[in-house]
């Protein structure tokens, strides 16, 4: 691998992200923070939701922000760069194996997803105060966030190299929206106890493990999936998405 070329590509992505920072901020944070405000503040203060819901909500919101930022950051540029502007060709012709061009995209997406997750915490905390978060296991928390961010970016790679430009809308309504609503983001997995079939079915949704994993590390006082299971399944999803994404990327890059 050519480290200099890899770093130069990473610098290019950072440069472009810095240039678009305002758009990126709105894109990433507006929706989750509005959600936090309505459900965590309006609904709680008006008495429709118990105060404890605030702490339950925050990890879910963090999971959504991270997964969406990562997918968006990798998939959207790839869709247009491969199909419309072809601007990725310059990097495909750089003196580096093309698999590393894809890995650079994944790394850049992972960093963006991590940043979004880390910004959501203080922002949501400001809106929701007081909220009980447990930071007593920082390493486990870090492991979960990194696995979630990597999943998002690798998933973005797989989606971005698979979805056709004309099907972006479909990708949102058919893949991402059901993923959020059945992702145990706004409710814990145990809330599905009275829907046994659904409760089993949602286990194919990786966002479930992201939300539950963050819940297990940030608000362990609520019922959550086993942290070990979450770590194993997230690792498997990460590996699957990377293998799939790299294969799709090669298929797109070489005709």
């Amino acid at each position: 691998m050519n480290g200099r070329a890899f770093l130069a590509m990473l610098a290019r992505d950072a440069h472009v992200a810095r240039r678009n920072v305002v758009v990126l901020l709105f894109q990433t944070f507006l929706q989750p923070l509005l959600f936090v405000f309505i459900f965590g503040r309006v609904m709680v203060r008006s008495g429709y939701m118990p105060a404890s819901y605030k702490s339950l909500l925050l990890p879910g919101i963090m999971a959504i922000s991270m997964v969406f930022t990562g997918i968006w950051a990798v998939a959207m540029p790839l869709i247009s760069e491969f199909q419309f502007t072809r601007e990725i060709e310059d990097r495909l012709l750089a003196p580096i194996e093309i698999g590393w061009v894809a890995m650079e995209k994944v790394l850049a997406g992972t960093i963006q997803a991590l940043l979004s997750g880390l910004v959501v915490i203080p922002a949501a905390w400001l809106i929701l105060r007081p909220v009980a978060l447990d930071f007593s296991r920082p390493l486990l928390f870090l492991a979960v966030t990194v696995l979630v961010a990597l999943f998002a970016a690798a998933g973005g790679l797989a989606l971005g190299c698979t979805v056709n430009q004309t099907h972006i809308g479909l990708m949102f309504s058919l893949v991402l929206t059901p993923m959020i609503f059945f992702g145990c983001t706004y409710y814990p997995w145990s809330a599905l106890d009275s829907f046994p079939i659904l409760q089993k079915a949602v286990l194919i949704n990786p966002l479930v493990y992201a939300s539950e994993g963050l819940r297990a590390t940030l608000v362990p006082q609520f019922p959550h999936l086993s942290l070990i299971a979450v770590l194993i399944v997230l690792t498997l999803f990460d590996a699957l998405m990377l293998v799939l994404g790299l294969r799709q990327f090669r298929g797109k890059a070489v005709s």
Partner: protein, 336 residues
């Protein structure tokens, strides 16, 4: 100094070929029954040898296989069969060393729309490991050479087609590649810019670099190339210097004649005229006459036509050119 070599290169697409590679392809059909995917043969056993330091032109109509050849030589298209080398490196097996020595200008602009012109050059230099001082120096020089200095710090999104094309070429030269690929470099350029580009290409070649360019413009192929290969349907149909190739057309002049009626007897008579080398009937009522002379033949042709009862309707005379050569070999015009 690095040369280019291909041996028996084949490429069969079983989906739509990428833009700029293979024209007129039928779209893949999707029905309830799975039909076999249409196969498009873009290259059919192409062997080329381009000497180090040579400007080599690939001339052919759209869909002839020019872009596919460039695609394979630049690691972007996987050949179905055969081999390709840049210098000592097998293109498909040693992609990174190959990418290090080549610069590529694609047929369609593929500039990084999120960057300014100067940044595009600088990041390209960085991908190739140039340090920041060298990047700045080369970017400034190239922007100046391609007359883009006043737009250097603007986003390329708003650039005209000609400016994008100039910047694409500047970018390909940024890492000073030993081999430069130019796929239809002057398509869409105004005549003035085209001349600037030709001058830059010649200058780059004089510094010892190998250049492979594709074009369907005979004038360009003639003006720039040391040697030319004419390709059609993925096969080479002629190879040589522009002068040799033009001299290989019988007579050199081509008279395309159209008559009021079809008369084989008239064509026989035309063959007997002084200076006529070859007469080819063209459906329905025409003939392509290859001859040593052009306009001076017309009065005799008109007299023969009148005496055979086939009035002369249309005459098109062209001087010795690569276009005539292409027509002679394929029976089709380059522009068809």
């Amino acid at each position: 100094m690095v040369g280019i070599r291909t041996h028996d290169l084949r490429k069969v697409y079983n989906s739509a070929p990428p833009f700029g590679a293979g024209g007129g392809s039928p779209p893949a059909q999707r029905g309830k029954q799975k039909k076999p995917k249409p196969e498009i043969v873009a290259l059919d056993g192409l062997s080329l040898e381009v000497a180090a330091g040579e400007v080599f032109g690939l001339l052919g109509p759209n869909g002839a296989g020019k872009s596919t050849t460039v695609g394979i030589l630049t690691t972007r298209v996987q050949p179905t069969g055969g081999q390709a080398w840049i210098g000592e490196h097998d293109v498909w097996k040693q992609q990174v060393p190959v990418k290090r020595v080549i610069g590529v200008v694609a047929q369609r602009p593929n500039l990084d729309f999120s960057l300014t012109a100067r940044e595009i050059l600088a990041f390209h230099g960085a991908y190739f490991g140039l340090d920041s001082h060298e990047r700045t120096k080369r970017a400034d020089a190239l922007l100046e050479r391609f007359k883009l200095t006043d737009r250097a710090d603007q986003m390329v999104r708003g650039f005209s087609g000609g400016m994008m094309q100039r910047l694409s070429i500047a970018r390909a030269m940024m890492h000073d590649p030993q081999v430069l690929f130019l796929d239809e470099p002057s398509a869409g350029l105004d005549p003035q810019t085209r001349l600037l580009l030709w001058e830059i290409i010649r200058e780059y070649n004089h510094s010892g670099k190998t250049i492979l360019l594709t074009t369907h413009n005979m004038e360009e192929a003639d003006a720039l190339s040391h040697r030319l290969a004419i390709i059609d349907h993925g096969r080479m149909i002629a190879l040589g210097t522009p002068g040799d190739l033009k001299a290989s057309v019988p007579g050199g002049y081509l008279l395309r004649l159209r008559f009021g009626t079809n008369s084989p007897e008239l064509l026989e008579k035309l063959r007997s005229l002084a200076g006529v080398r070859e007469v080819r009937p063209v459906e329905p009522n025409g003939a392509d006459v290859y001859a040593d002379r052009g306009g001076s033949l017309i009065p005799e042709v008109a007299t023969f036509a009148a005496s055979s009862g086939a009035e002369l309707h249309d005459v098109n005379i062209s001087e010795p050119s690569l276009e005539n050569l292409f027509l002679h070999h394929t029976g089709r015009s380059l522009r068809e």
